[in-house]
Symmetry: C2
């Protein structure tokens, strides 16, 4: 299809602009989610819409109806073989001041971006990663939400330029492992799967939830833990997940070598099945 | 003057819209400052521009030249007897992903808002305040910056509806006092002035810096400390500052009564002089 991307719909209409009074701009007062589009369909859309609604609820933003978002996402993705769809919901326009208006009209922004071409075959060969210097603040009121306050990620991502390093690992201000800059993080020790619990900081990704769910279905022991970074260095395998990359095994972390192992491959197979089961 | 407010300039032109790809919206990737306009002039403008530049520097955003911002702020304020000017600088447009573009063209947004009418005379009579439940995350990389990631303030401000309560006090996740939701916080004990240090969280306001500077000029002992909220309850006086309200003494905090005392009045006098010295 010949549409040039990004293609953006603001409140249901193609537009490149939003209100300069939007609280999404002034306070990051909103949430978002990012999906893979394959063969004209946004993958795992219902899970993403459920997460958007849950995150809106945490912030007290009335989320647009799922049917409305589902319809717009489907129309926007039609004819796109491979793309990335980002759905953003903000609290809408507001005056000056942190207090939300009594009646708010949320803004919805659906943006279809070109599929990012990742050099090599990171899902097969694994990636090099590093531990970031920036430490995430701990805030239970915001933990888990994919909200628009993402300066920590922007600063963490600015720590390196080397294109061979594909992801950074974020710790919290007490040194516990939390997540990747743009992904969630898992590791394997003695055939058991571990991922950081996200009750004090971090983003609870749709892919992360799916991995934990599939592990349950397949009888793989999986648990959320709070662990120092040394635990990660002592793991047998480690991998990163998000809804665009799927699963990327770690090949190295700050010089410590990993081999993409059997558990990573097993989980990768489950995710491929879950994704393909969604293709029309 | 008959202009209806808000009046907004985006990159030097009157406009109500910004790009839907602006990183200010997607990541809160930017900074802002808010000034009082009196008699056609933005007050303490040079201090606000210096702070904007400093905050941009912390985030690696190339701040527009001060002469440009000064000229636009002056033109926008001309003829306005009383108004509020908010200057926002974002990293500008970006693609998808946290990584900042190699060459960024910052967006500048100057918005002139109507002067807020505060019921009563809070500067004279003092205000009722409360301690918020929400705890601020600690993050030295972002501490002090007036950046666009303000969900903590939005959530804290949503904790109360009672219009008689004019400000909330924020503690960090370890219980230390940090600031007001929209202001900085000072207290007085035995004729000494205290304010929380902001090296782990909080916004370092222009008015806060001015108060500390004026205290130095006038030989009033003033120091930044890290203290639990109990210290605030045991203080002789307490007050809040920002560039729009000036100084509001606390009259009560969660039921503990304060009287606007002699040190608060002294500082108020200095600020009035500093402001009036700026009026054309």
């Amino acid at each position: 299809m010949a549409n040039s991307l990004p293609l953006i719909w603001v409140d249901g209409r193609e537009s490149r602009r939003i209100s300069a009074l939007d609280r999404g701009l002034h306070y990051g007062d909103g949430v978002f989610t990012t999906l893979a589009v394959r063969g004209g369909a946004p993958l795992l859309l219902d899970r993403h819409l459920a997460r958007l609604a849950r995150d809106c609820g945490r912030l007290g933003i009335p989320c647009p109806a799922p049917e409305l978002l589902r319809g717009e996402a489907a129309r926007l993705s039609r004819g796109q073989d491979r793309a990335v769809l980002k759905i953003t919901i903000t609290r809408g326009e507001g005056g000056r001041g942190y207090r939300a208006p009594d009646e708010c009209r949320p803004t919805r922004l659906l943006a279809l971006h070109p599929w990012p071409e990742f050099p090599g075959d990171p899902a097969r060969d694994g990636i090099a990663a590093r531990v970031c210097h920036l430490r995430l603040g701990r805030n239970p009121a915001l933990a888990g939400i994919k909200h628009l306050n993402r300066l920590e990620q922007v600063l963490a991502r600015s720590e390196w330029d080397d294109p061979k390093i594909r992801e950074g690992v974020l710790l919290d201000c007490d040194g516990a492992v939390v997540e990747g800059v743009m992904s969630n993080l898992f590791w394997v020790k003695e055939d058991r799967l571990f991922t950081p619990c996200l009750n004090e900081c971090g983003v609870a990704g749709v892919m992360r939830a799916l991995v934990l769910e599939l592990a349950g279905h397949h009888g793989l022991f999986a648990v959320e833990v709070r662990e120092p970074v040394s635990t990660l260095f002592e793991a047998d395998e480690a991998f990163f997940t998000n809804s665009v990359i799927g699963l990327w095994p770690a090949r190295s972390l700050d010089g410590r070598a990993f081999a993409p192992g059997p558990v990573s491959r097993r989980v990768q197979g489950w995710l491929d099945d879950a994704w393909c089961g969604e293709r029309p």
